[in-house]
Amino acid sequence: MECVVQGIIETQHVEALEVLLQGLSGVPKERVRVHELCLKSGPNLGVVPSEVRLLCDLAQPTPSWTIRHVGGAMRGAGAEQISVLVRTIVESKASKNVLHYFYTLGYKLDHELLKIGFAFRFHRGAQITVTVTSTNKMPRLHATDEAVPVTPGIQLVEITAPAAADNYNDVVSAVSAFCEYLAPLLHLSKPGHSTGIVATAGAAAASLMSSGGGKTL
């Protein structure tokens, strides 16, 4: 299981967000460059249609592959009341022939994306990962070097934390508490419930850059 919230931020304020995250986490940022391929089961395969994501980590000297299945969100009255989405995630590392493997099994490429940005991983009540990325699409199949932004000027911020059935309430609290720190710059909500950009982001960013960042605007 994982707890997740998302938000968007204008690219011009990303540097300020980085300064804030650096200060809050105290860890160095990691480069993110992930080629994400979304595959769907072909007609007739499977009891129900299924979807699987293959992630190729291009930030490493040798690209590594991960198979990722994103399950349904937790439901019920309790889940409705919390501001964080709790969902099942199953991941497995895989050898580099994994795309060919899933094609052989009868899966088809639905779409592919290239996510470029950075991430902070730290412990703050839970093992929290904050990723700030621009989503890019490829003009030609797998042509990651030619990728262009899907939403120029806007970047996606995602906060995730692993959880288990017996502790997700604590993890939700930790993620919610952390979101408060970022509130001047962005709204974070459950995926699919985007609340847009924050009107005060410009002023907050300017303030951060003049004090925390040590840079003048």
């Binding site: 499977g46 009891v47 299924s50 299945h69 199953v90 590392k93 895989a94 050898s95």
Partner: protein, 225 residues
Amino acid sequence: MPPVKWLMHWHPSPGATINSQILSEACGCAESLGGSKDGKWKTSIFFYRAMTRDGSGGPAGQQHPDLPRELLGVALHERPGLYFSIVRAQRLVLQADAAFPQVMEKLQSYRIRVALNFEGFQYQLGDFCLRIGKCVPNNSEALRGIMMEVEYYPLSSIEKSKAVMEDFFDIWQETIGKKSLPGQFIHVDSNFSDYGLSDQYSFQHTAVQYATCLQQLMAAVTVRA
């Protein structure tokens, strides 16, 4: 890099059946060669079958020629953190981690129909390690086959180790031949290059050898039946 390994299976003489006495005689041979027993081992193989929306109960390949008839999952005893999936018809071996079966379970496109265990004792013999075991279905004691692994610690190159493995195999055949058992151990070459595997031995090589060994055991069962 893991050391090189050969898998061999027991091929019964025409009309003969496989029984547990052969297994104990083989273990006796390992001990008579100076092998010291130092533990148990178990490798599991899972047969997956495609689930189709039209609910065809028969082999998927007959009604959906685009889907593989058979998908094997291999959990090796020496690497519990890894899991291998093999599509033999396409000569494809995927290396994943132990969470892979959970991914497959979530996808509901292929399901495990049969699980077989290869299990037995392990013997240390100088630079060699011998693992002699039986093949039995999960939750059953019905003997489906007998096989062995021979591992040679000093080398990882398949080519370079070929001579020493053949020499060992000859000594082994001579030793077990004295027991006058109705059959013999056979090593069937797996075509590693077809799977894109190199001369340097890896766990993927072992997974492919298990698939080959299983095919041989199944063929023997079919012939007897």
